[in-house]
Assembly symmetry: C2
Homo-oligomer: 260 residues x 2
């Protein structure tokens, strides 16, 4: 059986119309599927109203205890449950999860180095058996970007990495496609030209584009996750625009394919 593992970014989450459209497209996909969503800016807004200061280092949120409560509320509660309720209204039998739920994604609190990220987790073990049970029960897992340790802590976790980890873990039991949806049409050879999509990206081209500065910043960790997935058992990895999910998944006519 094929499973589509789809990651949707925070900028789509933040836009009510965009998320509605995206969820309609997601619901319409045939077969087994899993959604992993990012956080979005609403956590920053809620944190501000609650008097919790947002500190970002290289695009990562420093998650002290008050901020951990905020992301648990916003990602695990508001965003996740709104997505689940909307999917249910579109006849997709979704279930919202953090890594703590059903012991689905165990992580380790990141060690304090030059930077103390606080309650941030690096994925250690995905419970593929439980995810399989849910899929076979006809349920669609929807993961918030939260994991946990065995010590009682919810941990803030990068959704790109979480998507890659889930895809790799279930690839032992299923044929898996991993699709990263974001606000661009794919990996671009010219950041200023949205139509300069690189159709196929292999490790050699990736190195070349990185050295030339064509691929940079946030795209690098995303692509590292993508290559890690394709090198560890995932059948196909695609990076595409959220609007083009159907074309990318069902027709193969959109986005960038990561190949080895």
């Amino acid at each position: 059986m094929l499973v589509n593992v789809i990651k949707i970014g925070g900028n789509v989450i933040d836009n009510p119309q965009k998320i509605e459209e995206f969820l309609s497209k997601f619901s319409a996909l045939s077969g087994y599927k899993i959604l992993i969503h990012g956080g979005g800016k609403i956590a920053t807004k809620v944190a501000e109203q609650l008097g919790v200061k947002t500190v970002m280092v290289e695009g990562r949120r420093i998650t002290d205890e008050p901020m951990r409560d905020v992301v648990t509320m916003v990602y695990g509660g508001l965003v996740n449950k709104q997505i689940v309720a909307k999917l249910q209204s579109k006849n997709c039998n979704a279930i919202g999860l953090t890594g703590a739920d059903g012991n689905s994604i165990l992580a380790e609190k990141r060690k304090v180095g030059a930077i103390d990220y606080g309650y941030v987790g690096d994925v250690r073990k995905v419970n593929a058996e439980f995810i399989k049970t849910l899929l076979e029960a006809g349920v669609t897992p929807v993961f918030a970007p939260l994991t946990y340790d065995k010590e009682g802590n919810i941990l803030n976790t990068n959704a790109d990495t979480q998507a890659s980890s889930v895809a790799v873990a279930i690839s032992k039991d299923f044929k898996v496609n991993l699709i990263y949806c974001f606000e661009k049409k794919g990996v671009l050879s010219d950041a200023s030209d949205d139509n300069s999509v690189i159709s196929r990206l292999n490790p050699e081209l990736y190195e070349k584009y990185k050295q030339e500065g064509v691929i940079y910043e946030g795209m690098i960790p995303k692509l590292d996750n993508a290559f890690s997935a394709i090198q560890n058992g995932v059948n196909q990895v695609i990076i595409c625009h959220a609007d083009e999910l159907f074309d990318a998944v069902e027709l193969g006519t959109a986005g960038t394919s990561i190949v080895i």
Copy 2:
């Protein structure tokens, strides 16, 4: 197989030490179990900080759209996921759910009558099949007091009713005990004397105590839920102190038994 369905109230949720103790006791119970938790006062505190006004009518929270977002965050995110993470640390493989998750509890938005309760749901259908799947997969469902309609809305729902509805629904497949844990030792014959526990309460005694004003206010809807459960297939219904969960469930030596 026996399933213990346990409801824990908001006042325990609000007390970090009490909830820790309670969750240790809950984790230690043998066999299949389900936890349903109330909301607690933290929603009111968070609402205030977010500039959302709390309006209560006869002990019920009026849930307009901003308040719905608050309870979704606090009950479905913060409270529910903290409980799940804590249970996991106590070797209880918990999964946090709202009614929307896995279509587990479908409700209907309450019709606007003399009072407009807003996004408040009355339970219509419990997905016993899915709950059974989870239990048989070795997972312990932990329900937040939230349900949903099929129109994309999360609905605020009374946890006592939710517990009763879940217990009745799964009693077709299992032998079910329903245990309401709260801050008193049981139903009291003298509200000022915590040791005046009525050991066994049948419908005739219940009527008598209501007429005499011995049982009043918040105990009445709780007991109506309790009698409804015992009259609809639940094996045993107990009302007890959260501290006495083990004694009530495993020893039968604490709390009030609801009998017919």
